[in-house]
């Protein structure tokens, strides 16, 4: 049924001013794109310059530009400071940018694919799958190395990656097993079932191996702490692939927003697009999770903030989520490691502490409505 909404008083059916110039669709406005790129650059410079040793932002910017081929600027930094910039802080900031961008992009993509504002990248079991796999590795495999993360530098990311993708595959198989009645809701429910099942397995493993609880939890809360260029290189290929696939489908997600029936009567294959996008977003999420653990909230608040401020088309939401998600997580990491320095607050805690109130503020002030 089409609900009859009250017409704004004075809204005349024809406005001559608008008939004169043909209007463009509400696509991505250049100023928003610029704002996103600026946010990423600010996060990059702030992330590298702030820390136990503060390095002037100007020098950081110069040193970053020096990384470009053919650029030689005098940054005024000594060898040690240059090493801090390029070997310690830069990889961590870049990893934060990649992971934040991936989580926000995947979140926005899932919200479109499922036409559900509550969808987040962990919806189909990524978190539970990674959680149970990492717990198994730490609890069972890590016993010989006293359960420390450093004892298993490679196996934890690999386990998280395999665990999360297996969980999504299981969700897909269960959700698709309905045959005719395959619907987005079936997949979401299958994701709930798989997540509950795997979380139960994880809880059981933890109960049996209580000595590994701390290591598991520090992973669950998310961490950018051990990032070196190695981690960045592990995530990068998946991030690029996911970003390309998802960003190319912005218009299709807009078409999907009118429902499967209408999308297919407009010539699309909604099911096919949905599975391709789920696969791409899950791959990016799994890569992000394997590098940094479970960082919550980014995948929900960033796409919604973008939607509320910049527009509801997925051609706007997806690229801006990628940029602002990247900037958001990198800046959050700055807070996580400076607020209680020298101690670090788990980044997942900071995303929720900072992001929650910010999101409420946006919700209360934004002009648009969500549903």
């Amino acid at each position: 049924m089409t609900r009859v909404a009250p017409v704004a008083p004075g809204a005349s059916p024809v406005r001559p001013a608008e008939t004169a110039t043909p209007s463009r669709p509400a696509g991505l406005r250049p100023r928003w794109l610029v704002a996103g790129v600026v946010a990423v650059l600010v996060a990059l410079v702030a992330g590298v310059s702030l820390g136990p040793v503060t390095i002037p932002p100007g020098s950081v910017a110069a040193e970053l530009l020096n990384l470009l081929p053919g650029v030689h600027l005098e940054s005024g930094l000594n060898e040690r400071e240059i090493a801090i910039v390029t070997e310690l802080r830069l990889p961590r900031v870049v990893l934060g940018l990649l992971v934040g961008g991936m989580l926000a992009l995947a979140g926005g993509c899932y919200q479109g694919v499922f036409r559900n504002p509550l969808a987040d990248p962990y919806l189909l079991g990524v978190a539970a799958g990674a959680g149970v796999a990492v717990t198994a590795v730490i609890a069972l495999g890590g016993a010989g190395t006293e359960g420390t993360l450093t004892g298993l530098p490679l196996t934890i990311p690999l386990a998280a990656f395999i665990g999360s993708l297996s969980a999504v595959a299981l969700t897909y198989l269960l959700g698709a097993a309905g045959g005719r009645s395959r619907s987005p809701a079936m997949l979401i429910l299958a994701g709930v079932a798989v997540s509950a099942f795997l979380s139960a397995g994880q809880t059981y493993l933890l109960q049996r191996n209580a000595d590994s609880i701390q290591a598991v939890y520090s992973w669950l809360l998310g961490r950018l702490a051990t990032a070196g260029w190695h981690d960045v290189l592990l995530v990068l290929p998946y991030a690029v692939l996911t970003a390309v696939v998802v960003l190319l489908h912005g218009r299709e997600l807009d078409v999907l927003s009118v429902g499967d029936d209408e999308a297919s009567s407009l010539g699309l294959h909604p099911q096919r697009s949905r599975y391709l996008l789920i696969a791409a977003a899950s791959l990016g999420t799994a890569a992000a999770v394997s590098a940094t653990g479970l960082i919550g909230f980014v995948g929900i608040i960033v796409p919604h903030t973008v939607r509320l401020l910049a527009g509801s088309s997925y051609r706007v939401i997806l690229p801006l989520s990628l940029l602002f998600g990247a900037a958001f997580l990198a800046l959050t990491d700055v807070a996580a490691r400076t607020v209680a320095a020298p101690a670090e607050i788990p980044i997942g805690v900071v995303t929720a502490l900072l992001g929650g109130p910010f999101f409420v503020l946006i919700l209360r002030t934004a002009r648009r409505v969500l549903t």
Binding site: T2, V4, A5, P22, P25, D261, E262, L266, G267
Partner: protein
């Protein structure tokens, strides 16, 4: 099989969960014709429309303009037949212009973006439907009648010559019902569109249709001109309704009469 038939349905059977919904439907709609499908709730009207629109697999049963529907690629099918659903989803926050542009999807390459030609086509449709002043408005903020015009605009932007309307007026007051149907009729004459609609209001249905098809329990109970289909006997039998049929200017008028 004449070239002039826009829709040709032969012995269409649709079964869902082992319940037969349609049990052997035959229907021919010639080019430029307006055929309205009526029938009591659950008779299979929407299912028939879905099959004609290609949303239900019905191998061998449906031909559009002489071509078996299953041999059309989706994009090509979408250029031939456009559907306005009974209650189309209104995506939150989407402006009218963007919504109508979705109708150009079958002309936009996969993963591509709309061309200037697509935009021009949409602006032409918008001005024809008197919607130019609404382009920046969010669809969700429009009234029922305005929305229905926007839904029609999206279907017309598809450039299809076969228009399927599932209960196009069920959410509208009587004035807006007439406005929307007059508009459809005018567009049909100007652009040689073929219209297949389902409707509940029998008087209005009879005034706009060239021919009517009465569905009951998944079969065609009657077909013909409104005067042939809208009879007290047929309506009593298939709707279990007590009505008087009064001869009107453009077709029979149906007046419900309370049973004693």
């Amino acid at each position: 099989m004449s070239a002039a038939s826009a829709v040709e349905v032969r012995d269409l059977h649709v079964t869902m969960d082992r319940t037969p919904i349609l049990a052997g439907i035959d229907l021919t709609v010639t080019v430029g014709e307006w055929v309205t499908v009526i029938g009591p709730n659950g008779a299979g009207k929407s299912t028939l429309l879905r099959a004609v629109g290609g949303l239900l697999a019905a191998p061998g049963a449906v031909r559009l303009f002489g071509t078996p529907i299953e041999s059309l690629r989706r994009r090509d099918r979408a250029r031939v037949v456009a559907t306005v659903a009974q209650s189309p989803v209104v995506p939150p926050g989407m402006p009218v212009l963007d919504y109508v542009l979705l109708g150009r999807t079958p002309y936009i390459p996969p993963l591509g973006r709309e061309s200037a030609a697509d935009l021009a086509a949409v602006h032409e449709v918008l001005s024809r439907l008197d919607l130019t002043g609404f382009v920046r408005r969010e669809l969700a903020t429009l009234s029922g009648g305005e929305r229905q015009r926007v839904f029609l605009a999206r279907a017309l932007a598809q450039g299809a010559t076969l228009l399927l309307l599932d209960e196009p007026t069920s959410a509208l007051d009587i004035g807006h019902q007439q406005e929307v149907l007059d508009l459809v009729d005018q567009l049909r004459r100007e652009h040689e569109l073929t219209v297949v609609a389902t409707m509940h209001d029998l008087s209005i249905a009879g005034e706009y249709a060239d021919r009517m098809v009465l569905l009951a329990e998944g079969r065609v109970a009657a077909a013909g001109t409104p005067r042939e289909v809208l009879t007290e006997r047929l309506l009593a039998e298939h709707y279990r309704a007590s009505v008087r049929v009064v001869d009107g200017e453009h077709g029979p008028l149906i007046v419900p009469v309370r049973r004693r």
